[in-house]
Symmetry: C2
Subunit: 336 residues, 2 copies
């Protein structure tokens, strides 16, 4: 068995309370005593038992992050941002991946993190009011990233504004017929990205006195093959669009795939703009909206740590800016 505080105390010839004081850097310990205790700790390789400490302090020194689709680049980047901040604190990071609505409700019903974590980072998953209530009842500080809850601190990006920028860019290039391809507008897990970006798309058209045409709107799935299929559908219209705005880069890749299949080229025969600015976008030369994904993670983690350490707990809303990255896929069209 591992050594306990008693072993240290005995060996150092002091009481366990003194050892505890040394451990917790309490002042009132004679330097000489402290040195002796530290020497023994070092000699025995003693390490305080976490569980015992947790039991009495009621602190876990861990925070949980709940995110969907661990595998998608967006979430990875966010995770990376979070990790970079948390690694420099003395908190540990527990991961919960949620891929299905069932898992989601299971998590928020059983709250398996309760008592195992001091705080929560919730990425992209919108919470229902009763769920928020339950968190607050449990006195568990939470920060939302990429979703918003009115009574919780939230870190978001302006999806409507970003989409607006994307479409406005296309319009400024002379495009009048602009298609929009997105994933589900009302997905199982309640994401609002697609809806928000569609709103931005429509707002930009309207602001420039262009009509919003139903046949140019293609909401399907958040998968590349849907981007592919939807692009083909748009190309086959009697009057096909001269530009396509895809609600995320992955869909845009599908679009580019479809173009290639038809012997067409993005940026020459049809302008394409994506959203996310994944690493791949640069390689492919895709014009897109850059989201500060890692920064979102960092900011969220910082807000949570501040709440934990200083007790700051105001539900502030942090909105991060997005920017347009111009690349070859939206060069000026040959035929306006």
């Amino acid at each position: 068995m591992a050594y306990t505080i008693k072993d240290v105390a005995k060996r150092a010839g002091v009481g366990i309370a003194t050892v505890s004081r040394v451990l917790n850097e309490s002042p009132n310990v004679l330097p000489e005593t402290r040195a002796r205790v530290l020497a023994v700790i070092d000699e025995l390789g003693y390490r305080p038992n976490h569980a015992a400490r947790q039991l009495v302090t009621a602190k876990t020194n861990a925070i949980a992050i709940i995110l969907p689709f661990l595998t998608r680049p967006f979430f990875i980047e966010v995770l990376r941002g979070i990790e970079s901040v948390v690694a420099n604190s003395d908190y540990q990071l527990i991961i919960f991946n949620v891929d299905s609505p069932e898992q989601r409700t299971r998590y928020f019903n059983t709250l398996p993190f309760l008592g195992r974590t001091d705080g929560l980072l919730i990425v992209s998953l919108p919470l229902a009011p009763p769920e928020i209530k339950r968190l607050q009842a449990a006195n568990l500080p939470a920060v939302m990233i990429d979703t918003q809850a009115s009574n919780l601190p939230s870190v978001v990006v302006d999806n409507v504004g970003g989409a607006f920028k994307a479409v406005e860019h296309l319009i400024s290039q002379g495009h009048q017929r602009i298609g929009f391809i997105s994933g589900q507008l009302e997905p199982d897990l309640g994401f609002t990205v697609n809806r928000d970006r569609q709103r931005g798309y429509e707002a930009a058209l309207t602001a420039h006195h262009l009509p919003v045409q139903a046949e140019y709107l293609r909401a399907g799935f958040d998968r590349r093959d849907w981007g592919h299929q939807a692009a083909l559908e748009l190309l086959d219209l009697a009057e096909p669009p001269s530009a396509i705005f895809a609600a995320n880069d992955d869909l845009a890749f599908g679009v580019i795939d479809a173009l290639r299949e038809r012997g067409l080229k993005a940026g020459e025969d049809l302008a394409v703009v994506g959203y996310d600015d994944l690493e791949m976008a640069q390689l492919i030369g895709l014009t897109t909206i850059h989201q500060p994904m890692e920064q979102m993670g960092r900011k969220g983690a910082e807000v949570l740590l501040a709440a934990l350490n200083e007790g700051t707990r105001r539900p502030t809303l942090h909105t991060l800016a997005v920017s347009l990255i111009e690349r070859a896929s939206s060069a000026k069209p040959s035929k306006a």
Copy 2:
């Protein structure tokens, strides 16, 4: 404050031991008693305190995963595999990201997971014998993924064999002059992938009676821009190779980039083969070696869980197979 087991006991008119028995599904409890206790638990919304439970059982119900470069696709896929297995157990997953040698040594010296986790999954990071000793001294079951330690269970892929396959494929396409681009052969964190794949490259050449030419070997960094630069260097040789094997897909993307810059096309002017089979590889049409990344994670997690639940602790070695995925980038060359 939250309710404790005492509150439940009092309210149900039983002793705390009985509540504990109900909680732990011990047999010897009268069905009627059990029902009464469960009713009270439900009524109060009682949840057992983790720390207290841990303290007495000396079990944390958490496992830690230690991996480098959380951001690279390879590790993400492995992580996803791990997560998918762990999510179905009642363990939780704590993440430690290690990006620098300093962090690495810090982690393995302080062992911050000690007492917070029941087991360890170590991805790609080779351990020095004293480090392994320390883990075993702490009685902490560990499984290595994508590295190997003689006295710990390990899940690996055959990097030498995979590289062999890749190069043999190029040779079978008629190539005689084959370049090899890789990251550092002796990187800071001690990965051996690059070295292993180089060995496979050399073995394949030798097996087919082709010379290993030093000027065709380019070891640099695990970054796309190195692939780019090294490819240019190879192209500028007096007698440039007709094919390039890149030690990972990312490097291969850099190669393709360089070709494009010179107005050349992979698969037509020069054959390119990568390694990893990232999602992007498919999009780009890169011939590559498919690694079962997610499966590695799953397997590793399964082995660890088995060790935890059943006490199986033999240091078995699990070698997973890799396969060649032929795509356009290694079509038959026009001029052999």
